[in-house]
C-alpha cells in the first residue's frame, strides 16, 4: 500500500459485503433511502453530505459529493457557502468550549 487513501477504493465500497453481507445490505439499503428526495430535495441532501464530508474530512466522501453537487447543478458559490457553514459549526464547537476553559480557570484561580 503506497498511501492510506487510494481513490480507486471508492469504487470498491460495496466490497465491504464480502465480509458481512447482511449488515452491508442493510447499510446500503438505508443509505439509498436516506438520499431519496423527501421533505428535503435530493440536491439539498447532497449539499449537506458535501459539508459533512469536509467536517469529517473523508476524501472519498469529498470526491463523491463534489461530483454529485456539480452534476446536480449546484453552483460553486453554493458549495463554498455550505463549507463555511460546516467550518463555522466546527470552529464554533471549539470556541464554545472556551466557556468551559474559562470556568475552570476561574475556579482554580484566586
Amino acid at each position: 500500500m503506497d498511501t492510506y487513501y487510494n481513490p480507486a477504493d471508492l469504487k470498491k465500497f460495496s466490497a465491504i459485503a464480502d465480509w458481512d453481507k447482511n449488515l452491508a445490505e442493510k447499510f446500503f439499503a438505508w443509505y439509498g433511502e436516506v438520499f431519496k428526495p423527501g421533505e428535503l430535495t435530493a440536491r439539498e441532501k447532497s449539499l449537506i453530505a458535501l459539508a459533512v464530508a469536509h467536517t469529517i474530512q473523508c476524501p472519498y466522501c469529498i470526491d463523491a459529493y463534489t461530483q454529485d453537487a456539480v452534476e446536480r447543478g449546484t453552483t460553486e458559490k453554493q458549495m463554498m457557502e455550505a463549507l463555511h457553514v460546516a467550518a463555522a459549526i466546527r470552529g464554533g464547537a471549539s470556541l464554545v468550549h472556551g466557556v468551559q476553559m474559562m470556568e475552570k480557570a476561574k475556579k482554580i484561580s484566586m
Partner: protein, 349 residues
Amino acid sequence: MKSLRAINSKWSDPEVQVRFLEREGAHEHIPFFHSKLQDHGIGLLKTDRPSILQVNIGYQCNQTCKHCHVDAGPDRKEKMSEEIMEDCIRALETGCFEMLDITGGAPEMHSGFRRFVARAASTPVAEIVVRSNLTILMANPVYADLPEFFKMYGVRVCSSLPFYSSTKTDRQRGEGVFMKSIKALKMLNAVGYGMGVDGLRLDLVYNPSGAFCAAPQDQLEKEFKSVLEKDYGIYFDRLLTINNVPVSRFLDFLIESGNFEDYLDKLVQNFNPATLAGLMCRNTVSVDWQGRLFDCDFNQMLQLPKQVEGMDHIRNFSKEKFRDKKIITGRHCFACTAGLGSSCQGAVV
C-alpha cells in the same frame, strides 16, 4: 480559442479518435459498447422507423466552444451545397419524416439557410427545428431579424445554454457568451418564443460544463426556469439535457485534463438498458454537408457512416432500406445510455 483542426491537433482526425476509443486491451475498466449490450442479452442495436432527418449544413460557427463535438469554429469552411439541400428536401417530400432538425456549426451562417427552411416548410414535415447558439443573433446585424424569420415559418428553436450563470457558461462557450445569450433570449421572447404561444416553442439545451453527467432533466428545468425568470425575466418551454459525448474537442479535454478513464467509467457504471429503446440513432437519419448518411451527428464527426447497401447518400434514402439495420456503435455511445439517457431531444427515459 481555435478549432483542433486549426492548430493541427491529432485529435482533429476522426481515425485517431476512433483508434483511441476502440483500442483493444486499453481502458482496463471500460468494456466495448457491444460487449455491454451482450451482457444485457442484446445482440445488435438496430434501426426502427425513420422519423427525424437531422441535417448538418456546415461546420462554420461564430463560437469555438470547449466541448464541441463538431470542432466547429469561424475557420471551418465545410458547407452543404444547394444541390444537396434539394436532395434533403426531396427526402422530406416522401412524407416519412416528422421532424427536420437543422444543425451545424451555426446553421444560420450558411448563405442558403433561409431558403432551406422556406423550402422545408412547403414539405409534409410537421416540425422544423433549428439548433441555434443564440449569440449568432448578435454576431452581425444581418442576423438580427432571425427571431421574426423563425416565427414566420413556425420553427422550433433549440438554443444552447449550458448554465444559468455566466461563470460556467463563459468557461465553456467563451467570454461574454452568457450575457449575449440572455439578450438573444429576450429577442426571442419579444416575438413570442417561449411565451406559451402555440407554434413558437423555445427549448434550451444543457450540456454539462465538464467531465460529469447531466442532472435529471426535470430538476434542472425547474431551476433554469426559476433563475432565468427571477434574474432576467426570460421564459422558455423545455430544457433538454445532453451528456457530452467523448468525441473531438470534448475527447481532447477529457484526455488533456486526465478525466478520460473516470468519465467513461462513470458512463459505464450508469449504463441503463431502459434507454436503448429510445435512443435517437434508432429513428434519426443524420446527413453531413456532403449528403452522406450516419446514425447520429457524433458518428458523423467520427466518420462512421451508415452501412446500408444502396443507401449511402440522402439522394438514395429510402425508409424501407432504413428499417431494421445495424447501428454503428462504439464506446462513445455510453454517453447516450447513461442514467436517464441522452439525445438531441433531451433525456430518453
